[in-house]
Symmetry: C2
Subunit: 326 residues, 2 copies
């Protein structure tokens, strides 16, 4: 497909106008949006809940030149918006149901770009049986585009971040680091794995890795606890190795500090039969690694992360910071 610029001089949203753009979006989304009152077209969307349920709700933004640039296709950008939110649901052990989309866009945004962006949204929603039930369109200055998706799902037993205790084990799915080379758009949200882990009584806490292990892992540690990590068990992605050759950073530093892994990290109870637990995982998910990377330990006054082999402080403690000057 030839490259589509996010702005153009010809067929732009200000020429179409808001009313027509909403009609186009309904057309582009196709089956991924139901007719009103469940779908787009009224002051609110209606979401009928037929039985007592634990709904989970998450919101994530995707902004041009912050979360993506002209190097990725509009289809990939649309898909990424949905998948970022799906990864949050996976982390709660939830199954997605419906979403509301806010589109903030400058007058010079290309209608063709948006069409491809919504094709990415539609395909990813259809693959996960998510319906876009409503939203909002509002203006931004020229050249700018932001989208915010609020995604709702259902969780039988929502898995929180705060269930871990001293001596519990830490596991991660997949491999870490180097996401910037490809995985940041080309990832699979760990939904089936999240539901399976949340329904497993050995699993007591979980989250997804979006800002890097170094920043995110802290959220799973109870007060006055550190993580003792087995450095050689941290699963490195092949892109980590590629990146490390030119970045001046070690592979392990990339695995700790790079954002957008979109893998799950979970806490498994101390008294779990780990051999049996790992065997059950491998039977269920034979092609996806689950690595035991360490253990929650009492605070030893050496910072949040220590090398379990040497007892020394690990130096990597900074992940991705959203609010920085570039």
């Amino acid at each position: 497909m030839s490259r589509i610029d996010i702005t153009d001089d010809t067929y732009t949203v200000d020429k179409v106008g808001e009313v027509k753009l909403i009609e186009l979006i309904q057309e582009w989304l196709g089956d991924a949006t139901p007719p009103p009152p469940e779908g787009i077209g009224d002051d609110c969307a209606v979401l009928t809940v037929n039985e007592p349920s634990n709904l989970v709700v998450t919101a994530d933004a995707l902004t041009y030149q912050v979360h993506f640039d002209d190097d990725i296709s509009p289809t990939s950008a649309g898909s990424k918006l949905i998948k970022r939110n799906l990864s949050d649901l996976a982390a709660m052990g939830a199954t997605p149901t419906s979403a509301v989309l806010a589109l903030l866009c400058g007058p010079d945004i290309s209608v063709e770009w948006l069409k491809q962006f919504f094709a990415g949204i539609r395909d990813t929603c259809s693959a996960h049986q998510i319906k876009i039930i409503g939203g909002d369109i509002s203006g931004l200055p020229p050249g700018q585009l932001s989208t915010v998706l609020t995604l709702t799902g259902i969780a039988k037993t929502p898995m929180l971040r705060t269930g871990g205790s001293i001596n519990d084990w830490l596991y991660v799915t997949g491999t870490l680091g180097g996401s910037i080379l490809s995985k940041h758009t080309n990832f699979t949200p760990r939904l089936r794995e999240g539901v399976w882990l949340a329904s497993n009584h050995d699993c007591v806490a979980m989250m997804d890795l979006t800002d890097g292990l170094a920043k995110d892992l802290r959220c799973l540690l109870p007060p006055n606890a550190n993580a003792a990590l087995e450095i050689d068990k941290i699963p490195l992605s092949t892109d980590t190795e590629t990146l490390s050759k030119t970045s001046g950073k070690s592979c392990i530093q990339h695995a700790f500090c790079d954002g957008e892994d979109y893998e799950l990290i979970c806490v498994i109870k101390a008294d779990t039969d780990l051999v049996e637990f790992e065997a059950k995982w491998h039977k269920q998910f034979p092609t996806l690694e689950l690595s035991r990377i360490g253990q929650i330990v009492e605070d030893r006054g050496k910072g949040p992360y220590i090398d379990s082999l040497t007892g020394e402080t690990l130096p990597w403690i900074q992940g991705f910071e959203h609010l920085k000057r570039t």
Copy 2:
């Protein structure tokens, strides 16, 4: 209160960082955010629904230099974000329950400005017993701030836009036009009125006026129908009269075309005893006008709006367009 600039040189969000900013937001929101898992702090918020319900969901954005500028206080801006969404719920006859907030902000946004902004959010949420149950923080280029609120509520019988028929009557609450002078921040969402109208069997369709009567009223007209309007019954705000003195536009043009009225417009069944209906309204809401402004009629080929007295086409058909170049 002295003026607070949205950006400053001293205490800005990039100096605080995302983790600390989330803690500050929890502190600023106080009782308006519950502890996790119902509140901020996990991958998703959990919303327990105890019985079969019609949830309604809406999203609205509020962007610096699009929806507000430095002339309004951060407290008013925060309050406006909540109230814009409340007006959408009012239009469905719903009662608000909880919200998710996405904050997109540049590195140089002032922490003091945000503190006042969240004070406005807190006070308005508390007044309506809404809980902020989660959200997202992400970056924008310097000097920019956008927020998107997704608000959930419960509606016994959600009132749609599409229930009107030929010969039904059109009513609006309050007065129209001139919102730019004050009402665009200083308005009361018509929540009690919306619930009352939605529970009244004579009311068959409803929406809120945000983009101006001229643009919005079309959404209440069934296919092949026009609105015949009694021009002298359109309720003019006093700000409409003030504005008209210098704008070069008539009062009635302001009332038709100005955005951000945040009043309700509803459709009352043709066979309703209007005297009784109006008497019940005035008993329930003695200080708020409800004006019968016209009737839905068969398409007479003269455009969407006609003067019911003369049968002539009314010229005002454009309301607020979100996607224009300024």
